[in-house]
């Protein structure tokens, strides 16, 4: 038996904030995010027979949202409207790390510059850094960190090998930390015991 209209509406309203939050970060545009969420909900209603159990609703509708977004981007790519995908070469020793910039192993136990940095970061700082990433990096970070998807699920959605998910995510997180560091510098965030850059 498929989900009733009333139960479907209740499930959507429960999760609408998260759907909107993810859609805005994927599209970086309020109007496109609204279209993406509306399209997702309409598709989910049409495909409701495929929903196996009520508690599977969140993962199921997020899968529809991701697939809808990726299909839209593929169509845009055919029209030449997307950014080119370039996975930069990066070895581990070159990966930017905020922790490595801030951590001082010989500080007294109560000094924790990396935690102080996080405490001073605003939600908007993280948002700005995420929005500044190239799309193919932004998408894997959103899927892994905002949606909490497994690497295998990301690979299936993006139709790329799981090894590519792993390496792209590593590069994306390093790029995110580098941008976040710049954003923090621009906002004048300073941390005790940290070097001036």
């Amino acid at each position: 038996m498929s989900i009733t209209k009333e139960a479907f509406e209740t499930q959507v309203m429960t999760i609408l904030g998260r759907l909107h939050g993810v859609a805005v970060r994927l599209t970086r545009n309020d109007a496109d995010a609204e279209d993406l969420v509306a399209d997702t909900i309409a598709r989910a209603w049409r495909a409701r027979e495929a929903l196996m159990a009520p508690n599977a609703f969140p993962a199921w509708i997020f899968r529809i949202l991701n697939n809808t977004f990726i299909s839209d981007r593929r169509r845009a790519a055919v029209r030449g409207q997307t950014e080119p995908i370039e996975d930069a070469e990066l070895d581990d020793s070159q990966a930017f790390s905020i922790f490595e910039r801030l951590h001082r192993p010989f500080l007294l136990w109560f000094a924790n510059p990396e935690q102080e940095f996080l405490d001073k970061l605003m939600r908007d700082d993280v948002d700005r850094a995420l929005a500044a990433l190239p799309e193919h990096y932004r998408v894997v970070v959103i899927m892994a960190d905002m949606e909490d998807l497994k690497y295998a699920e990301i690979a299936e959605t993006l139709k790329i090998p799981i090894g590519t998910v792993r390496s792209r995510l590593a590069r994306a997180r390093a790029a995110l930390q580098e941008t976040l560091w710049t954003v923090a510098q621009e906002r004048g965030i300073e941390v005790s015991h940290s070097p001036k850059h």
């Binding site: 479907f8 959507v12 904030g17 909107h20 609204e34 951590h103 939600r123 993280v126 690497y151």
Partner: protein, 78 residues
Amino acid sequence: MAVNDIDCAQALKRLIEFIDQELVDADREVIERHLQTCRSCLSRAEFERALKARLRSLSHGDVPSKMLDRITSLMQGF
């Protein structure tokens, strides 16, 4: 070091997969054992976890009233 123990460079190489819960039990246990004895890597793990949580928290926010109206109206038509 015991046979299965690893150094910091090896631990950091797999730390993100550890935080993302992508490691099989045996590999996870090796990292956990390293973190129990290395304060620096443990601090790094805590920092990466906290940053991941900050990203996750971006998905929690208010729905704009315009979107709420549109979705309510859309579902009335189902």
